[in-house]
Symmetry: C2
């Protein structure tokens, strides 16, 4: 049902119905497209705010990405209808909207493209989607092969949904001169002050065809007729009516009539996307199909009935012609695909692993760094990423492109307020506004400065960053990066009440926990613990930077805070989540719902608040109350009714998102903490639950391919077992850099130190060996780990020499080191 | 294809495909539902802002009602799936979503209900929708009759779409105790300050069934399966799975298995709507189905396989039982339907006509006052109606319930600013905010005070209203109604430039004409003319109120303004629409697009600006450039590109809405003006074009039933003939009171005067006679109009006596007068 390809470049799904929402995603700096296996698509591009060029059939709300979005018949999609002209039989690829189950179906979610292969009625359809590196555009290649033994008469109808563009103006028509269907609209607005920004938007959606179509239709309604989207009436006619749309909902549909001989393969290529005007579309045509593309197409008249008398393999790429024109000696379309593949390939991490767990290997070597890279280079397609997301996403970039992390820190700190507090979002474009949740004040953002910085420093040893001078928001005050972060940590320490607990205001890491402290008194248990951990992390950084006195102060501060935590928040078997404005502790054994939260437990292991006894108790409590077959839940039992002194989190559906899902971001914190205290078996068991599988029932339950970690799997396992484990299908999540840290700092123990690489693996008992290639500061460590009899604790040999403290030192960029790690049986 | 029923209470459509968007609408004070003939629905209710209980399949934008909305497979709807259990054959009523064309189809749009009758496979399905007078709820009755000669085994599946309720929380389940499917959600929000209002919203959607269903399904996805909405997979099983929805998109589907004998009629009744909680749903059950409804149902077990052995006619209304219970001696459902019919019947106008034009008769006697009434009692389901809409809608109420008009004037004037200007919207609830277009400053609102007031005074002679004391906005200053309106007219006179032309700011009556004067200099030709007309109307009111000196002043003022208009705006054959901020006149012969606008032409006839020569010229220009088979266009040629010195109107799709549609509101102004200057043939021809028909091609082109006048028919007839004439299907429009004034003041000439009713018909030449019953100040005038040889001008005889000036005086409330009008041949 699902399988990686041999080269590990794709994950394949061989059924259109087993995991109907299984999907992949592609992105570049200007856009993102999330496609499901059946042909439905969600695509956004930045101008600079997110916008759509393929819309729903109604006026959709502008909102952030939502989990578990339903698909429906007229959901935006990309399809190919195929008609057998002799029998009138119609089916569609990939699967929607006609839903004829084909003889063979393969959806291959790749790193830089997605490929569907559908075989039906002795025809093989291969649809490939890739993106260019620059610009918002989908590059589609459709190959149709006659796999039967007789000549066929068929019509092919690429169908690209355009949808309800605007109530002000929407229309569409085929523009022969461009060889494109061009749909036009005006983004709806009412105020004259909005006009200057509206006028520059890319309000056109085009479908640009390399080959001239035999016919087309641009009116959705005319295309569907009474047959509806599942069996459009327009397909009954010999040719489409070549209609337009005039304040009618457009669709971009073309028709190619063709008569392939046995074995003949036909290739069609399309570009689909947004544009400002026809001049831009003309430029796109030239870029991808060459200057003379359309003219030459008309001369060749491919795909027409007249031209189908002899077998041929036409790629439609006009190579001969382009070879003659000096400026277009290369096929622009193929070049773009190649450049895009190279761009995505830049998203490599620092680990290549080979373990007994092949699914983990595949995910870690290929998909996890890709997902981190996506976050880091796109900032989740937001112009105002939430501060904690921005910092954590760039923590992940420490493993891929540390220069970008460095720059992100400088950007974020330049928006820090002079009092040390951080804003709720980081504005990335002049004029961008804080939107949605960034309009709600949260108190945790400062935590992420030291916590994320340490990964950057581990990877790069770039302590010089701390000396960079950065202005504060407002531009008047300025200070070094060290001073900025120091002020942030001090702000956290200062933002506590008489008991020594951190105020929560309208939320901490848990965005919708908005009514615990909105009156100004409520405190966050987790945030207090996180403040202690921040002090420890910052103390270490101070120490390494030669500031021993400050380090000592911060360590003492952490100890005091941990004391307050144990005094006010320990509930007997685990830590409370907080204390409300009215002084009521919650997340405690007396609560019927929201009795235990994962975050205070894991972070108390990091901060050192939990001693050995507490540690054992809370780990047991988590296992008993929060662990499910699909991972560890964020809280349990999920709230089933509003709790007005906790807030909006309790109104979310039980088991969804922050209300008790297996919220992988929180799960990753916990796993990281388990590794931090050497709980390697618990850690690995939970880590492994982040990926679907390995058995088919689990895969069906999750409903997604292991090409990304979703922000959550449905929780409330004990309350609503039917839905537990279901993927949110949201690939935006702070989870991934933490999982990577779990691998680097924990499971494989290959963490950077100022003077070298410290090697201290925590392999699970079931693994006898594993090997890791670790890229580190330009050098390469080839590490073989193996359990051996007679070894009592890990022994690290670098190029044959024992490194007593496990730290391999002195390697320079470009050098390679063979490391052997002997582990106890 | 379309026909009124004999009693004129319904308009019937006999095809589900001829006019696929044909529709009707029902409303009460809390809700509105707009249903198309095929079963799709748009419903809103007020809490107090508009909200939905049956949603689209995605998160829809909150917006005002938009024209020509597309339908799509998963559009909200109300359907009945029917399965023949022997053959497995499935179809649906009314027509969507399976789209099986039935043997017989009748959609009857009624005044207080809508009835579908579908005959197929020897089954007759009758679906009836009505509303209660109070409360947001749909009352559905479904009758199924076995019209064949053998017993049948069938399953009936009422399907009520619930859709994507919320990303925070959505679920649904069957609650046996209530006999209802109850879907729950939380209206999405993020800010703690929004919680107090959110918490009181009716976030549940229920489908309450009188009879206990045999099975049900609440998960849309589980119901549809791979079959999709056109052929849901769940129908293949013997019974639905009785599933629930847990953060899954809900649908309310029930199943009744039944075995009707030949001739047997089964009745099922349902209530569908929003509720706060289960207690409210319980109350609704009791109100409509009686206290013991569900319990008794369980005992009777109707519709089950066991009970179908003998013919019966079960209404399911439990009459015997209810007769026993004193408090529920009446069937609540039937009583609600009867009360609602009575409520709608209150929306009578003052005219009952009998003319050679039977379609006009039907529309004027039945549908036009109903549409006026809808506007007046609901304020278009807005909490902040635009000021001009509010005043004009209540101008219409002068003919239906003048007390409501009186109150509306007092309400509006209490929000007038102390400087005489009017706000852009009238706030009807404490805390309501000016939204959408009401956030854009428009300069015309004061015009509507005298212009609408005169109709109220004509109807009631209630000059005492002018003496009522009303405070201004802010509550400090106060004045009489006379002083208020006087100040408004003076504000209009004062808001002019050196040339004597009225500033337009960001719009006048034409909302999107927002860039003519946004810099503060541009002027509106129409508004200047309308100011002159306001002065004249106000002068007449002053005069009648005994203020002759003021009257004389205002008449002189009007003359001066008309002079300025003729000096600066006359273009040679018609009046310009305005002059931009940069001094450029537009709406003139030199313009390639937007060359001529209708509004300045008609209003110049009203204001007296146009002398005889100008009148002839401009009427010819309108006929040549603006008249189409579907009415007179608002402007021509429609703009096809943004004109930045005119504004947003030029960005709307050519031929849609204000950009050159047959915008019926403007058309009605023009027709009214034609009657005002005695252009009765031109007036009648254009008036008649407001209704679809009479030939089939025209009806198909318009695409709607003549049960309301839409806000526009598509224009740009000369530019885009394919789409011209198409109805917007929007029944919110200021058109209707003006059409009524055209009939009262113009066509039938039965306008009120302080001392009686002035009778001066302007029948078109093609009519030899007409009769009118005119209700007027409690009296009834039965007026027979007839052309006779030898009559040179109209002669009016009241109860046989000639009224020399055409004014019938002295009639008191309760009295009746027989009037004969002799007209020239």
């Amino acid at each position: 049902m699902i399988r990686p390809t041999e080269d590990q470049q794709y994950y394949e799904l061989t059924s259109p119905t087993a995991l109907p929402k299984a999907s992949g995603f592609l992105w570049n700096n200007q856009m993102m497209i999330h496609m499901n296996c059946r042909g439905y698509a969600v695509a956004q591009f930045m101008q600079p705010e997110p916008a759509k060029y393929s819309h729903a059939p109604n006026l959709e709300a502008k909102t952030f990405m939502q989990p578990e979005q339903p698909y429906y018949a007229h959901h935006p999609g990309r399809f190919l209808f195929i008609k057998d002209e002799e029998s009138g039989y119609i089916f569609s690829a990939p699967y929607e909207p006609t839903r004829q189950v084909p003889d063979k179906f393969v959806f291959a979610a790749g790193k830089h493209d997605m490929i569907w292969t559908v075989e039906h009625w002795n025809l093989r359809i291969q649809m490939t989607l890739t993106l260019p590196k620059e610009g918002a555009a989908e590059l589609w290649q459709i190959k149709v092969t006659n796999t039967g033994s007789r000549k066929r008469k068929i019509s092919l109808y690429p169908y690209f949904s355009v949808g309800y563009m605007s109530w002000m103006n929407q229309s569409g028509e085929y523009v022969p001169d461009l060889g494109a269907i061009v749909c036009s609209s005006i983004t709806p607005y009412q105020k004259v002050q909005d006009y200057p920004s509206i006028k520059n938007l890319k309000d056109k959606t085009y479908l640009l065809a390399e080959r001239k179509p035999d016919a087309w239709e641009v009116s959705q309604e005319a295309f569907e007729g009474e047959g509806g989207i599942m069996r459009p009436s327009a397909l009954e006619a010999g040719t489409l009516a070549c209609g337009d749309a005039r304040y009618e909902m457009p669709a971009a549909v073309m028709q190619y009539r063709t008569e392939p001989e046995p074995g003949e393969e036909l290739t069609y290529r399309f570009v689909f996307g947004p544009a400002k005007d026809e001049a831009e579309i003309r430029g796109i045509r030239e870029r991808y199909f060459g200057l003379h593309g359309e003219r030459e197409q008309e001369a060749r008249e491919p795909g027409g009935a007249e031209s189908g008398n002899e077998p041929r393999s036409s790629t439609g790429s006009n190579r001969e012609n382009e070879a003659a024109a000096a400026d277009f000696s290369e096929d622009g379309f193929e070049k773009a695909a190649r450049d895009y593949a190279a761009y995505v390939a830049e998203g490599r991490g620092v680990l290549t692993i080979d373990t007994p767990d092949k699914e983990l290997d595949n995910f870690v070597n290929h998909w996890l760094p890709r997902q981190m890279y996506y976050h880091g280079v796109t900032n989740r397609l937001s112009t105002d990423p939430q501060t904690r997301n921005y910092l954590q996403d760039h923590m992940g970039m420490s493993y891929i492109d540390p220069r970008s992390t460095r720059q992100a820190f400088l950007t974020a700190l330049s928006q820090q307020r002079p009092d040390g507090s951080m804003p709720d979002g980081i504005v990335l474009y002049e004029g961008a506004e804080l939107k949605y949740i960034n309009q709600v004040p949260h108190t945790d953002h400062c935590v992420w400065l030291p916590v994320c910085l340490v990964t950057y420093l581990d990877e790069t040893d770039d302590y010089a960053l701390l000396d960079e001078e950065v202005t504060y928001a407002g531009g008047e005050k300025s200070g070094t990066v060290f001073e900025h972060i120091d002020l942030a940590v001090k702000w956290l320490i200062g933002d506590r009440d008489d008991r020594g607990l951190n105020y929560i205001n309208q939320g901490d890491w848990c965005d919708p926990m908005n009514m615990v402290g909105y009156k100004g008194r409520g405190v966050s248990g987790w945030l207090t613990i996180a403040t202690a951990y921040s002090c420890i992390v910052w103390a270490d950084i101070c120490e390494r930077g030669g500031r021993s006195a400050e380090a000592e102060d911060y360590r003492q501060q952490a100890e005091e805070i941990n004391g307050a935590v144990n005094r006010h928040l320990w509930d007997g078997d685990w830590y409370a989540r907080g204390i409300t404005d009215d002084g009521v502790p919650f997340g405690i054994s007396a609560d019927e719902e929201g009795r235990i939260f994962i975050n205070p437990q894991g972070w108390s292991l990091l901060s050192g608040a939990a001693d050995g006894e507490k540690k054992a108790k809370l780990i047991r409590a988590v296992e008993e109350q929060l662990e499910s077959p699909y991972g560890v839940e964020k809280l349990a039992p999920s709230y089933t009714a509003m709790r007005e002194d906790v807030g909006r989190v309790t109104q979310k559906h039980p088991g969804s998102a922050e209300n008790g899902a297996v919220y992988n971001h929180a799960a990753a914190f916990y796993i990281y903490a388990l590794y931090a205290v050497g709980e390697k078996e618990n850690a690995y068991r939970l880590l492994r639950k982040m990926l679907p599988g390995t058995d088919e029932a689990d895969i069906r339950r999750r409903g997604q391919l292991p090409v990304f970690i979703p922000n959550y799997y449905r929780g409330a396992y004990r309350q609503f077992p039917r839905t537990a484990g279901r993927s949110s299908h949201l690939f935006n999540t702070g989870t991934v850099p933490w999982v990577y840290r779990c691998l680097v700092d924990g499971l494989f123990g290959v963490r950077g130190k100022p003077d070298g690489l410290r090697i201290a693996p925590q392999l699970p008992a079931e693994w006898n060996e594993a090997s890791v290639v670790r890229a580190f500061r330009g050098a390469e460590f080839r590490i073989a780990m193996k359990r051996e009899a007679g070894v009592s604790e890990a022994e690290v040999y670098a190029d044959g020499r024992l490194a007593a403290d496990g730290i391999v030192r002195g390697l320079r960029a470009g050098e390679t080191c063979e490391v052997t790690v002997k582990l106890p049986l």
